[in-house]
Symmetry: C2
DNA sequence: CACCCCATGTAATATGTTACATGATTCT
DNA sequence: AGAATCATGTAACATATTACATGGGGTG
């Protein structure tokens, strides 16, 4: 996934490694991390494989390296983005992909978002089954907090579901965020 | 963290590697994965280091290996659990720790939960600053979905905050989960 | 008797973090 | 002048996934 995120960041404009890191941090940093120790070697490898081009520009006394996606890189990126999400991998993969979903044609995007919805629903169903098994046995502190994370999961999945349904329709965000109850 | 999760699972009763994996999957599987290729070597290492004991029991034709935390193991686990959470690491670390928070004395638990609350609030603040930067520039599909993940983050943090405040007081779960609006 | 679950393990590979290393520019 | 930020890179280490490998027990 890492490589595709890197390519995705330089689809429409050239950026330096440093810029990419910064942009990753503020945009998807909440669920995706790119350490520069991983980023710089990746940029080199992707350039060697012709997924990216690199152009050096001297600014002031130093040389900046601007990377930009090639046709080959873009195609590989789009293949990855269009493909059905592998829900076995980390749940963050979904979020990372959705970040780039503006690149997809409407139809495919809807299809992929619908698959996400199904997955979250299934997940929710599983969690609720587990809830039924354990909910009646809260006796100790131990049980309380073990079950707390279960409720966290349920709430989280519900909230994700609501979000997915919202963005599937490309509804405006105004009013999307619910007020804090406190 | 992996090792502590393993120890945490066998604090109060001996389990086999297979059982541990199953229990991890249903309890914290939503945010923590333990592949058996990682689990079995870890169990061996922890036993070598005297954090766990291993007892073989033959059941039917096969030998099962039951692992149980030693005093040394429990102490190490409690040190990890009591220590302030490192919020730089994956956000799942918090959830994994909270799963075990029933093991902590009330005071420390409250303190740690309070720190979590502060962190989530800070995170929320950061996200809202980013929101202000970008919210007025939704023009293309690209922007819509890039910002979608930002709103996801905000909603998620709000929901986490609500949950943290709830469990800090050890309020009952009945009524905690909000109804779906659809 | 085939398939699935139980049960344990290793090895090759892939991925990711942290520390080491260097040096320019900008702000205070 | 010193600190923070910009900017790029490598190497050692830590962590995690996947495939390989084996075999018992229960169910249809």
């Amino acid at each position: 996934m890492f490589n595709f995120v890197v390519i995705g960041m330089v689809l429409h404009q050239p950026l330096t490694g440093y810029d990419i890191k910064k942009y990753v941090d503020i945009s998807i940093g909440n669920f995706f991390k790119a350490s520069h120790g991983q980023l710089y070697p990746a940029l080199k490898k992707l350039t060697d494989k012709n997924y990216l081009t690199m152009e050096e520009q001297s600014q002031g006394g130093r040389i900046k390296k601007y990377y930009h996606a090639t046709k080959l890189g873009k195609d590989a990126f789009m293949d990855w983005l269009s493909a059905p999400t592998d829900f076995n991998s980390s749940s963050d993969t979904i979020m990372v992909k959705i970040f780039f979903f503006g690149e997809l044609p409407d139809e495919i995007r809807r299809q992929r978002l619908y698959e996400c919805e199904l997955f979250v629903q299934q997940n929710l169903h599983k969690l609720r089954e587990i809830e039924e098994q354990f909910a009646h046995s809260i006796e100790s502190d131990r049980d309380y907090f073990e079950i707390a994370t279960l409720y966290y999961g349920i709430q989280n999945n519900l909230s994700t579901l609501r979000w997915l349904r919202h963005i599937k329709e490309k509804k405006p965000y105004s009013g999307f965020i619910q007020k804090e109850d406190k």
